[in-house]
Assembly symmetry: C2
């Protein structure tokens, strides 16, 4: 890869950094979570130590990479959450936005959430330490919105935090399962999850022949 087409070196370090991140992105999209520092360096047309100078260590590069996607996703989610519509519609829009995102770039989100579950090899990114932040950030963000807008009485702030993390976890796990098995359309999944959040679990009747769940 002859990336230095022009010997222009007035490129700031920031610009370089962005180039490296884009190269990393490409590799992650191609190789999935198996992307190695060597591969990323090669894709960027340079060698490892430069990567380390820019990002400190693998975690630093990962964090930078994750921040981009996380920020983008959070922006989308915020937009869905702020849409002028009924509460139920907003919830569905938010769920749908998240699911659409992981559907559009499954490898990226698999990379962000699931450490090295690619097809071959075993030495992948150790994402575990950093996958939490993504879910945590989403959880905290959602908690903020819930706490800001809903009147939950005393202790509502804490309740909102629990719910924020819980709902994000629900969304994540269901999305993950759905992405793997594709048992239904996205719309159906959204509807089902919203129904769950809307208390249909509590409202459902027992099946004939025994005590209910």
């Amino acid at each position: 890869m002859d990336t230095t087409q022009r010997t222009g070196q007035q490129r700031s370090a920031d610009r370089r950094r962005r180039e490296l991140l884009e190269a990393a992105d490409r590799v992650v999209l191609r190789d999935g979570p198996q992307a190695s520092m060597n591969a990323i360096a090669a894709e960027a047309g340079i060698t490892k130590p430069i990567l380390y100078r820019h990002f400190g260590d693998k975690g630093g590069l990962y964090a930078a990479l994750a921040k981009r996607h996380t920020d983008a996703l959070l922006d989308s989610l915020r937009a869905a959450l702020d849409a002028p519509a009924e509460r139920r519609e907003r919830v569905e829009a938010t769920l749908d936005t998240y699911l659409a995102a992981i559907e559009a770039r499954p490898q990226v989100y698999r990379f962000l959430m699931h450490p090295s579950d690619g097809s071959a090899g075993e030495h992948g990114f150790d994402v575990g330490k950093h996958s939490a932040p993504l879910l945590r950030r989403m959880g905290e963000e959602l908690a903020q919105v819930i706490g800001d807008r809903l009147d939950l009485g005393p202790g509502g702030r804490q309740l909102a935090r629990v719910w924020g993390h819980g709902i994000v976890g629900m969304m994540h796990a269901a999305g993950d399962w759905w992405l793997g098995e594709r048992p239904c359309s996205r719309a159906e999944l959204v509807r089902s999850l919203a129904d769950l959040l809307w208390g249909r679990l509590a409202a459902a009747g027992d099946k004939v022949g025994g005590p209910g769940f």
Copy 2:
């Protein structure tokens, strides 16, 4: 390591396998997700190749280790789910059982769910590929129970699966967050999550001064 204190070799391979698993368990409890094959072999008083003869590869050992804990946890959850009580009480009991389990052995469950998020070092178990099965199994199991007992009308089976995975994800994410921050008691967390499942999100009133969430 003179492990052959007695030349007793009538020990069946199964017995040996269980010993190895127990050693692995000990190491995981001590070192967390950083446990390496070398460390486990050393703890068992043997060397690596034997581990590989018994478990094939790291994934095999991990799978065997995970199966033990997963089975045990699932048994507990089933018991809580089958207790003779109201639906809400059962849900709370199940949540509490899960949370009590991860509270009692945080390192084990961190190991099962989070790949290599230990304090130091970076080369840990690549659990990512295997953490899904645990959550998947719990999700499917819960889906089974929900589908068996609740009358959800047409498409109820699929709805139950979505809910199973969603609820498990909620439980997992909330538990994970709670274990890290301990923002409240276990009972409070259980109650908050059950409230969420019981539709309090939909029922809550908007806060004064703007449209609701």
